[in-house]
């Protein structure tokens, strides 16, 4: 039994040794060969590492760009921001319009800046009044950068004393009587833009009738309940809001008069801005828009006008001094004759 076992062990050992020998014969690698294999393996690992790292680094910019575009395109965030910006200008900047098709948007990494030119109608022609640049980080805007080309620009952040259009029951800012003198001293061959503050609240149509056909009403300042106090409930000055009086023939203007009157478009814009009040407040000069209260007031009392921007030949504008409806004026821009 023990002998048998010894034989088996010997046989096993011989087979094992044979196998080891065979393995060593077929798989023997000299030291040089082994070094070559290790070096090759090392090089392959380094090359793979470098290439994959390079690929990952190069993917950063495209992936961020794509994510940014997806962020702004899905749900129309960018278009909504552009729309709100454009419409805020129409209703908070007297006699100012913009070319909606000329609004440029530049998208960076999770940010967007939009730039557009604004225009003023003085006489019969539109003049470039300046340009706006608004930077959006995600969908929240920073304060716009305004570059105005006007001789008499409005105050960047309005206060009670710097308001150009004043409610009949609010106190008249000091130094308004000198404004008629400006008109009197202007040459006859010029056209001007004048901001009228009225003695009473009137309907938009009534105002146009009372001012005559020799001057053109450009913009109507609407009474929304806050203009008398000129501040909101927290004491922040409330800026003027209103809408263009004339139909804008530009195809893409919201006030193109095709489906709705300017007054209806104005109410729609206020509703849109109410939903985006934070954005609108940043873009508007006035730092308090109090839109929900103003909309409620307008629905209750209807649209009544307390001020307007008119344009026309200077001799015709001078005649407004005798108009009983006008309490005080502020002269805006003056240009060479273009009244055809």
């Amino acid at each position: 039994m023990t002998e048998n076992r010894k034989d088996e062990t010997e046989l096993y050992e011989s087979i094992l040794n044979e196998s080891i020998q065979e393995f060593e014969e077929t798989h023997s690698h000299s030291e040089k060969e082994q070094k070559r294999i290790i070096k090759k393996g090392k090089n392959t690992a380094i090359r793979t590492n470098i290439l994959i790292s390079l690929a990952v680094l190069l993917l950063i910019v495209p992936v961020l760009t794509l994510s940014t575009y997806l962020y702004y395109a899905i749900g129309g965030k960018a278009n909504n921001a552009i729309d709100v910006a454009a419409k805020t200008i129409y209703v908070t900047e007297p006699n100012m319009s913009l070319e909606e098709m000329e609004i440029e948007s530049d998208i960076g990494f999770f940010s967007m800046s939009i730039t557009f030119d604004v225009f003023k109608r003085i006489g019969r022609e539109d003049y470039k009044a300046g340009d706006y640049e608004i930077y959006f980080a995600f969908d929240s805007p920073s304060f716009p950068e305004r570059r105005m080309l006007l001789d008499r620009p409005m105050q960047e952040i309005p206060t009670i004393d710097t308001e150009w259009l004043v409610h009949p029951n609010a106190s008249d800012p000091i130094g308004r009587s000198g404004e008629w003198n400006i008109l009197k001293n202007l040459p006859d061959g010029t056209v001007g833009e004048v901001y009228l503050s009225l003695t009473e609240l009137v309907e938009p149509k009534e105002l146009e009738e009372k001012l005559g056909k020799e001057v053109q009403v450009r913009w109507l300042a609407v009474d929304t309940g806050f203009e008398e106090k000129q501040v909101d409930n927290e004491g922040v000055p409330v800026g003027v809001i209103g809408y263009p009086a004339q139909i804008d023939s530009t195809t893409w203007s919201p006030f193109n008069g095709r489906e709705q009157s300017n007054e209806e478009v104005f109410m729609d814009i206020l509703n849109l801005l109410e939903k985006n009040e934070e954005t609108a407040t940043k873009i508007a000069r006035s730092k308090s828009l109090v839109l929900s209260e103003r909309i409620a007031y307008l629905k209750e009392h209807g649209t009544q006008v307390y001020g307007a921007v008119v344009t026309g030949p200077v001799p015709e504008l001078r005649k407004l001094e005798n108009n009983e409806l006008i309490r005080s004026i502020k002269v805006g821009e003056v240009k060479l004759w273009n009244w055809k």
């Binding site: 793979t48 575009y69 960018a78 278009n79």
Partner: protein, 100 residues
């Protein structure tokens, strides 16, 4: 046995796989340059044709031994990403601030 294979690793298909990866990297680098330059007119060659070439090379590179398909997979992945990126950007750019 395993070590035997390493001697024969660098077959033609593996090189094609590596080539696909390199082509994809060149296209990706060009895409980066285009995006950082913020240029509207970037040659189509880098955005469409080069990734197509990389994709074709990557597919050929797949017909190789199991252990060396890594580069081909990366090549195919990156080229597909660039093509997808190009087409998606066309669509998305059109959706943001559309002008007739």
């Amino acid at each position: 046995m395993e070590l035997e294979i390493t001697k024969k690793r660098s077959g033609i298909t593996t090189i094609i796989g590596l080539l696909s990866f390199l082509v994809a990297l060149v296209a990706l680098a060009s895409l980066n340059i285009g995006l950082l330059l913020d240029s509207d007119e970037f040659p189509d060659f880098f955005l469409v044709r080069l990734p197509m070439i990389g994709l074709a090379l990557g597919v050929v590179g797949l017909f190789t031994k199991k252990n060396s398909r890594l580069y081909a997979f990366w090549g195919i992945g990156l080229c597909l990403f660039i093509l997808l990126f190009t087409f998606m950007m066309f669509g998305l750019a059109w959706m943001i601030n559309p002008k007739p």
